[in-house]
């Protein structure tokens, strides 16, 4: 079996007495799209937060990289972006007073270098780099179909477009792995279709993705593999079809063991 790009092993995280993650193991391979599902409070976002350096796990290992896997434990969030992991947020977190373009340009921070002196003196390199960043951001805005709104304020966009903007911002760091936290939440059916198409386009570029999603209509068509979390534990893993038939998954979502599920077994 090929070396995994992201390898989460035995991850445990507690908040006081509440166990948010217990011994979670997750492998994501290059080029794969993994759907991460589970009821509210199952620990999905906590898992993202541990991987992206916002939370420190109590136990377990997170390794990243295909050739020379490197432990991400203890790395700050921006170092993890530098290693090639980008993310979006469940409750969109844009920089509200900045333009759409500026939001995406900020995503290039780890890929650019202008320091204090370059900025203060507006050196040739600084100006060239700024130009490059703006062009790169425009490319990404085209990818998410926001090129016409580049000058608008991030916060002024309708909700559905804010989601796309956040994805463009995440892509601006040239990630190897993209973590999407409920990208379809709060979108209407039309917007959902557009989002699906966008994720397909990103997938076609060969990017590896993990997405948290509740809506099976979003998860199923784009996920190569689905992982189910419940009460902080991995309870099932497999292809989309297999997961939909899994009794434990149905139980986790509906609360009680279902007769239909028993029969299906």
């Amino acid at each position: 079996m090929a070396q995994a790009l992201l390898e989460v092993e035995g991850l445990t995280k507690r908040f006081g007495g509440v166990v948010a993650l217990e011994d979670v193991t997750l492998r994501v391979h290059q080029g794969e799209t993994v759907g991460l599902i589970g009821p509210n409070g199952a620990g999905k976002t906590t898992l993202f937060n541990c991987v992206t350096g916002l939370l420190r796990a109590d136990r377990g290992a997170i390794r990243f990289g295909r050739r020379n896997p490197e432990s991400l434990a203890g790395l700050a969030a921006h170092h993890i972006v530098q290693r090639g992991i980008a993310r979006t947020f469940q409750n969109i977190r844009l920089f509200g007073s900045m333009s759409v373009l500026e939001n995406v340009v900020l995503g290039t921070y780890q890929r650019t270098h202008t320091g204090l002196w370059g900025a203060a003196l507006a050196t040739r390199e600084a100006r060239q780099e700024q130009q490059w960043a703006a062009e790169r951001a425009m490319e990404l805005l085209e990818l998410v179909r926001l090129q016409d709104r580049a000058e608008a304020l991030g916060a002024s966009l309708p909700f559905g477009l804010q989601r796309r903007l956040e994805i463009a911002r995440a892509l601006a760091s040239d990630p190897v792995l993209l973590l999407l936290d409920e990208p379809a939440a709060g979108l209407n059916p039309v917007e959902k279709q557009a989002l699906l198409a966008l994720i397909q386009r990103i997938k076609a570029q060969g990017l590896t993705m993990v997405l948290i999603e509740h809506d099976m209509h979003v998860v199923m068509p784009i996920s190569d593999r689905v992982v189910v979390l419940d009460y902080g534990k991995t309870i099932a893993e497999g292809s989309a079809e297999a997961i939909q038939r899994d009794a434990r998954v149905i139980e986790a979502y509906l609360g009680v063991p279902q007769r239909g599920a028993d029969a299906a077994r």
Partner: protein, 331 residues
């Protein structure tokens, strides 16, 4: 085109400021303006920390004090002339900013505000109590005024006349304002604003939050250090009570009044609040009372500041965010 018009207004303002002492040579008024501009320099520096980066700093006067004492001590003990003293003053105050930030930036929000307030008080009291070096409450006396070479007259001291200081401070304010404007539009400045808007999102976009906050503290500190050296050379004396908490608050009020992150706002805020007590001098003992009242009213009438972006914010940082989405106040 808007940019061009703005630039035009800028240059008109600069020109007016340049000719003002020739039109109106009243030394008292020039002195008030010079002091207000010095506040402008301080407001520009604090604007980097509070306005751009969103770190609420309540001890900014400490950096001003450190700059003033650095130049004062170097001048008195090592005979360092003013122009050479500017560099160590800015450097030491900037380093103090970084040194304070290194441990303090672990603390967040209102708690950080209190740590910085404590820092400001500690620095002031330390300057008061370390009598063998700082002269205690009496401060440093006999600090040299700046001097410069004038064609036909040789090296001339600025002495106690107002106009040379006015021009010196004006020049430096323009320089620092230009630098800040450039910075705020650069990769570094955008990252600062991102931190102000949403620190957590900024870190997840790849911005090294702590490092950039330290940078902001360092730059803000050195600008205050520069201002401190000018202040020391202008007064000729430095006493610790010039750097009390009220000063930190005044500078903060200037930045907030002007609009967080706005460069012209910082200068406008400084000019207004810097001259207001003088304009209110006719009211004698009531002037600080009116000053407090003015602060309350301004916050109520223009909550985003004169040139602020706050009114167009959707969601924003911990500093800018509404404390609570309160029900409509009333009844």
């Amino acid at each position: 085109m808007l940019r061009n018009r703005q630039l035009w207004v800028w240059w008109a303002g600069v020109l007016a400021a340049l000719v003002l002492p020739l039109v109106n040579p009243n030394p008292y008024q020039i002195d008030v303006l010079a002091t207000a501009l010095l506040y402008g320099l301080l407001a520009l520096g604090l604007n980097v920390i509070v306005g751009l980066t969103g770190v609420l700093h309540l001890g900014y006067a400490a950096f001003f004090a450190i700059g003033a004492y650095t130049y004062g001590l170097l001048n008195l003990h090592a005979g360092l002339p003013f122009w050479a003293g500017l560099i160590p003053a800015a450097l030491v105050a900037g380093l103090a900013g970084v040194a304070l930030g290194l441990p303090a930036l672990r603390v967040r929000g209102d708690y950080l505000a209190i740590v910085t307030l404590g820092f400001g008080e500690i620095v002031r009291i330390a300057f008061t109590n370390l009598e063998q070096w700082t002269g205690g409450p009496n401060g440093l006396l006999g600090i040299a005024h700046p001097s410069c070479w004038v064609p036909g007259r040789g090296v001339v001291s600025f002495g106690v006349s107002s106009a040379p200081y006015y021009y010196l401070i004006l020049l430096l304010t323009i320089l620092v304002a230009g630098l800040c404007a450039r910075l705020s539009r650069s990769r570094v400045g955008r990252a600062w604003i991102a931190i102000r808007e949403d620190e957590l999102a900024a870190s997840c976009v790849g911005i090294p939050v702590l490092q950039l906050k330290l940078l902001a503290q360092g730059i803000g500190g050195s600008i205050a250090g520069l201002a401190g050296a000018i202040f020391a050379s202008k007064q000729g004396t430095v006493t610790p009570d010039s750097f009390d908490f009220i000063l930190s608050v005044m500078i903060l009020a200037m930045v907030v009044l002007g609009g967080l992150g706005s460069i012209r706002g910082a200068i406008a805020g400084a000019l207004i609040l810097g001259t207001l007590p003088e304009l209110l001098r006719g009211f004698e003992q009531y002037r600080m009372l009116l000053f407090g009242l003015a602060m309350i009213l301004i916050m109520r009438i223009r909550p985003g500041g004169l040139f602020g972006a706050a009114h167009r914010l959707g969601r924003a940082s911990s500093l800018m965010r509404q404390r609570t989405a309160c029900p409509a106040p009333g009844g």
